[in-house]
Amino acid sequence: MNALDAKGVKHFFSQNAIYIILVLLIIGIAVADPNFIGITTLRDILLQSSTRVIIALGVAFVLITGGTDLSAGRIVGLSAVVSASMLQMSDYPRKFFPNLPELPIIVPIVLAIVVGLIFGLINGIIVAKFHVPPFIATLGSMVIVYGVNSFYFDMKPNQSQPIGGLSKEFSKLGTGYIGPNGTYSIPYIVIIAIVVSFIVWVIFNNTRLGKNMYAIGGNIQAANVSGINVSRNLIYIYAIAGALYGLAGVLEAARTGGATNNYGNMYELDAIAACVVGGVSTAGGVGRVRGILAGVLIFSVINYGLTFVGVSPYWQLIIKGMIIVAAVAFDIRKYVAKK
């Protein structure tokens, strides 16, 4: 009976390690500085996590198929620039498009998301039809997208000046909230992240595309034998991921009130790290939305919490790196033990 209990406890810990780490982390920081616990902290951490969640969910689609996506960050940057360039106040002196009237906010937003989707689609076609390994295919598109973005950003009259003076309506998307002013309000951007997470959860769990995604990552040959059109599904998945990066770029521009061609740089690495820590297997076939959310939150808590208690940012990097490696080592050990 005791042995069974011990086994049960071990199983519980191995299945929920990520959530336990999250809780321990919060407790540890709270012990160092009890002021950490509070609604302001929660609001700030959620706010910081929102765009990261959206990017991480995009990357998760690709990781679960057994692929990887290095172009995520640069696509975020491109769509941030595209949306910001078309959503400046009409009376702003250094406008990207001086003669552009103030557009209905939805038009540039959709356009920026579509730009992300198109680059995701291209990634998918290169991976699925030309059989280029995802690491290489998206490494290439990462560089290309940055080039395209820099070209666009350098057009006259902007010539690589940071884009600012965003329209009130657009800025409000990034900084607005519902509820009373101050601590107890819920930012729009958090609501958007929650809605996106829910939609992705539905796609993962209740659509053919989602089930096929797990199957392709679980065993691509068996997926083919089971009648799944592997290349078509892969193209859809990379396209959806691209669209999510596009949305994240729009929100980044709206949140920060501007954009440059360097927006989003290296965000893909944070996203991959969050997914991996959240239990997404880089070997494919495994990953859940709640794990990914926890993975993102862990890194936000580390960023915010360790700064809060005054730990050096350099220490934060070292701790983050160790968590990534430890999470994967732990995950692989679990797999090896089962063999």
């Binding site: 089930k211 083919n224 089971s226």
Partner: protein, 503 residues
């Protein structure tokens, strides 16, 4: 200890069991110095298990191995190599990007230098290689990239490598399976040279003429048992066949109660785009029929049924279902037409190891779980997979278990359940009982007969002759990509099938 033992290698009374199977039962193999010793038996007779015991890949449960009259314990193929025992595998595995000499001396490059500073001595390596290849009269350049060599040359290279280890015993597994007539002659010349130098060869092959031509002794195995060892000159092809087969089939197969009806599927002149694959394959499959597909490894049986399933391109030929010509360009086309394929390599092309039993069960047929809103109902998936698991008697506490936690037999039942959910008319089963225990085998046989009774048509590839005869209404026998005969399942004998398959 005798100065010159009569045998260079003795494997005495070797036994090996796996859960549910006795793979080797008291097998003895004695190899005389400087001879070629053929090891024969049907697929699954235990030849490769015996060799795996010799190379330490399996640890025998009983028996002893003597080399040069001394008892040895071999724990790995590296041990075997140091003791002078090498193997030339059927699937050669050189490092194709590197050159001939590096492949031969891999892991033991000659070096020179001072103390701990050792560098590879390329000149010595090349000289040694030239001498080695010259002694064996092999026409291969030491600096040639191995990836550019023909299969036959690569095989020669592997033999040269074995010789460079001063091997006393060389095992060759189906060495002629991918050689042309000239290349076979070349190989035999090399074998004769080795024999002259006192090297002994264990020669595993299905090809009877070859064996009678090259070998001195022949050991025949059947069902993991040693049937006997004879001098090759005492034997004829007929004698070998009789000794390889011949056993009783009582009670290993359920009674066949299915009744074949009208023709359902017709294949006409199927020819692969690959020149060395199947050619001009035509046959008919009746409703409710179990059609066996027999032949030796390499007869291209899998390729034919994969073509029916849209996984292999056809150069010529057509497939007709219900008298109408159908096009199958991808597995999804085949599934839509009511064709299902249970593949041979369960792990490679069958299961999704990291997914649950439920997910594995429904993956080929997700469309039927859509709710009116277009979403997939996991509750329905749970119900249907639970029903499947019960129907096929899969032993598992829950359909939420990962499929990789099941035994092979239970995994196979899940895969069978997966395909039945697609509501197929034609089931293609490629070695459906390979690697599963006897109890699960019987269950799968019963399911097959039950399905045929319901009017499903089955094509079953099997390399086990008794299974073919015990289960099939008719048996197509293939040899080297062509149909060599079609026999009636009730009247067929193992001798007859073996003759069609091997000659």
């Amino acid at each position: 200890m005798p100065e010159h033992p009569a045998y260079v290698l003795e494997m005495n009374n070797i036994s090996k069991s796996f859960p549910g199977v006795k793979a080797l039962d008291d097998v003895t193999l004695k190899l005389r110095p400087g001879t070629v010793h053929a090891l024969m038996g049907e697929n699954g007779a235990g030849k490769s298990t015996l060799m795996k015991c010799l190379f330490g890949i399996y640890k025998p449960d009983g028996g002893e191995i003597m080399l040069g009259g001394q008892l040895v314990h071999i724990n790995s193929s590296k041990d075997a190599l140091t003791l002078g025992v090498s193997m030339i595998h059927q699937e050669l595995n050189p490092v194709p990007q590197r050159d001939v000499m590096e492949n031969i001396w891999l892991g033991r490059f000659p070096t020179r230098g001072l103390g701990p500073l050792q560098f590879i001595d390329h000149r010595k390596m090349q000289e040694d290689t030239v001498k080695l290849l010259k002694d064996l009269e092999m026409d291969i350049h030491p600096k040639q990239k191995v990836g550019d060599l023909s299969v036959s040359k690569i095989q020669s290279l592997e033999i040269a490598k074995a010789v460079s280890f001063h091997s006393k015993v060389i095992v060759m597994d189906e060495p002629t399976s991918s050689l042309t007539g000239n290349e076979v002659e070349q190989l035999f010349r090399i074998i004769n040279e080795l024999r002259r130098r006192g090297v002994s060869i264990i020669y595993i092959s299905h090809k009877m003429e070859e064996i009678l031509c090259i070998s001195d002794d022949v050991t025949i195995m059947r069902d993991g048992k040693h049937v006997g060892t004879w001098e090759a000159k005492e034997l004829t092809i007929d004698k070998i066949i009789t000794r390889m087969v011949g056993r009783d089939l009582s009670n290993r197969y359920p009674e066949r109660t299915n009744v074949p009806g009208e023709v359902l599927l017709r294949a006409e002149g199927l020819t692969s785009v690959h020149p060395h694959s199947f050619k001009d394959v035509s046959f008919e499959l009746r409703k409710g029929e179990i059609l066996g597909l027999g032949g030796l490894v390499g007869a291209q049986r899998t390729e034919v049924i994969e073509a029916l399933f849209g996984m292999r391109a056809l150069k010529q030929g057509s497939i007709h279902l219900h008298g109408k010509k159908i096009k199958v360009k991808a597995p999804s086309d085949a599934i839509r037409q009511g064709i299902a394929l249970l593949t041979e390599e369960r792990r490679v092309t069958g299961i999704f190891p990291v997914l649950t039993i439920a997910e594995n069960t429904v993956i080929a047929n997700l469309g039927r779980f859509k709710t009116p809103y277009g979403l997939i109902s996991n509750a329905r998936i749970g119900e249907v997979s639970q029903q499947s698991v019960e129907k096929f008697r899969v032993k598992t506490p829950s359909t939420k278990q990962l499929i990789r936690n099941l035994s092979g037999g239970n995994q196979q039942k899940v895969l069978l359940a997966r395909w039945l959910l697609t509501d197929p008319e034609v089931l293609l089963l490629d070695e459906p009982t390979r690697g599963i225990d006897i109890g699960a085998k019987y269950e799968i046989y019963s399911f097959m007969i039950e399905l045929a009774k319901q009017g499903k048509s089955i094509i079953m590839i099997s390399s086990e002759m008794p299974e073919l005869i015990g289960m099939s209404d008719r048996i197509i026998v293939m040899r080297e990509g062509r149909i060599s005969g079609i026999v009636d399942g009730k009247a067929a004998t193992e001798e007859e099938i073996m003759r069609l398959a091997a000659q």
